[in-house]
């Protein structure tokens, strides 16, 4: 009697040989995390300063919100394919797609973090003689930190769940199990790969939720 593919996938995961070696789950997971981290980092370098500037000055807000909204609508699989056709097989194409995927959440997190600071508090800080940079770094940013981390959290979950597409154009990561399984009609392996991606996404989400909670300034938690 054949077991269901789901039970087969659990059996696939339980096989000790899968948990070591260059094609093993730990290494693939690390690769997967690496792509995610790199994508988020590059996107953050671009989106967070831009979001902070928009939130602090209130300028170009409409433009940025509209652009970020439009970027959310882009299908990532389509982007990976397009970039791979333009730039060839390798990490550049998927990474660029992950960056584009991550930017809207990071941007929204950054500008809403700055905007969330009470205007009277910001006015008081400026009236005491803080420079604009000091107002941003000593008042707006600490007060909005949970929202900023919320943006990072949203972007991370999206990218970690999408990072399996890296394997679609010849890279590693947990996507390898999924696309190999697809090619050889090995559905238990596909399900196992998917389960690993889901588990990783949940773990990261919870970890960032914890960081988000801890980033609430003490004076606000006391209230």
């Amino acid at each position: 009697m054949n077991d269901s593919p789901f039970v087969e996938s659990l059996r696939w995961l339980a096989e000790p040989s899968r948990w070591s070696g260059p094609a093993g789950i730990p290494l693939r997971t690390l690769e997967h995390l690496g792509y995610t981290a790199l994508g988020i980092l590059l996107a953050a370098l671009l989106a967070i300063p831009l979001g902070l500037a928009v939130g602090h000055t209130g300028r170009f807000k409409g433009l940025v919100v509209a652009t970020a909204g439009a970027a959310r609508a882009l299908p990532t699989l389509g982007l990976v394919t397009l970039f791979a056709l333009l730039m060839g097989i390798g990490l550049t194409a998927p990474l660029l797609s992950f960056v584009i995927l991550a930017i809207p959440s990071l941007l929204a997190g950054a500008y809403s973090a700055v905007e969330s600071a009470d205007r009277a508090t910001v006015d008081a800080a400026r009236a005491q003689g803080m420079t604009e940079l000091q107002v941003l770094t000593r008042v707006e940013l600490p007060l909005g930190m949970p929202l900023l981390i919320g943006g990072v959290r949203g972007a991370t979950v999206q990218v970690v769940a999408t990072a399996m597409l890296a394997a679609y154009v010849g890279n590693g990561g947990l996507g390898r199990y999924i696309f190999q399984g697809l090619g050889s009609q090995n559905y238990p392996q596909m399900i196992a790969g998917s389960l690993l991606v889901i588990a990783l996404a949940l773990v990261l989400d919870l970890a960032l939720l914890l960081i988000q909670r801890l980033s609430t300034p003490r004076g606000l938690r006391a209230a």
Binding site: D118, A120, T121, D123, A124, A125, R126, A127, Q128, G129, M130, T131, Q134, R138, V139, P142, L143, P217, R218, G219, L220, A222, A223
Partner: protein, 274 residues
């Protein structure tokens, strides 16, 4: 000395907050700007530390046009106490008080020592130093706000309805403390309020403003009560309702001062003027 020379403030939308205002405020004087909302009182006060830039005219401090001074340095040299305290919610009482000295580069330890002294000066229990603003009562928050305004020992103190958000009992307590402080410190104070009683209590001189920053009357509380310039002032100070008209009644051999409604206001000290 602070001098307003024909200042005007017009907002981009066309709102005219202040039409044409001129006034000199002497050093060590406590001057109160009083008026209803739309009188431009806060706008005028905020021109002193360049939180508002006049559309026309000049504001001078000891002869220097503030427009020529760096706004950040200017603000660090002027104390600012605002309504609902404006404290940084994520910083402790002590860190809030030391904000300006730390910005000015005073060593942290020195600033903290001074902050402890200041807490005593404004009547705060030093045990509150490590608390956060949200853990304090409204009155305590205002005291922290005053201590922060005084921390860098500024010559000028701007106070924007600082006691507007606390209950009447705490307010009169804070007003008395401010009188005591001013007696000791002799700062130049520009105080904004819509409460005429507060204005008469705290001002060496009081400026009563009409909408648009137009001066209805300037003078000491005594001068204004003795001779309200017009019906607007009379109505503003309550003279028209008889609220300021007191007379003396003889009760049990003592002179009791009674207002127009017959409510006792106090007892007359010394000889009854004949």
């Amino acid at each position: 000395m602070i001098a307003f020379e024909n200042v005007r403030k017009e907002y981009p939308g066309g709102t005219l907050a202040v039409q044409d205002f001129s006034l000199e405020i002497a050093s060590h004087e406590s001057l109160v700007l009083v008026g209803s909302s739309g009188s431009g009182k806060t706008t005028l006060m905020r021109m002193v530390n360049r939180m508002v830039e006049p559309t026309a005219g000049r504001v001078l401090i000891d002869g220097d046009d503030v427009a020529a001074l760096d706004p950040v340095q200017l603000r660090r040299s002027i104390g600012y106490v605002m309504q609902a305290s404006g404290l940084l919610p994520h910083r402790t009482v002590l860190d809030n008080i030391t904000t300006v000295p730390v910005l000015r580069g005073t060593a942290k330890r020195e600033a903290r020592e001074r902050a402890h002294d200041l807490m005593e000066t404004v009547g705060l229990d030093p045990a509150l130093a490590s608390r956060y603003p949200s853990q304090l009562s409204g009155g305590q928050q205002q005291r922290v706000g005053v201590a922060r305004g005084l921390a860098a020992d500024p010559n000028i103190l701007l106070m924007d309805e600082p006691f507007g958000a606390v209950d009447p009992i705490v307010r009169s307590e804070l007003q008395r403390e401010l009188q005591r402080l001013q007696h000791e410190l002799r700062k130049t104070i520009v105080f904004v309020t819509h409460d005429i009683d507060e204005a008469f209590l705290l001002g060496d001189r009081v400026v009563i403003l009409r909408p648009g920053g137009i001066i209805a009357q300037v003078g000491t509380p005594q001068e204004i009560l003795a001779a309200p310039a017009d019906d607007f002032v009379a109505s503003f100070v309550g003279a028209d309702r008889g609220a300021r008209t007191l007379h003396v009644e003889r009760v049990d051999g003592r002179d009791v001062v009674v207002d127009a409604d017959g409510r006792a206001a106090g007892v007359l000290a010394g000889e009854r003027p004949s």
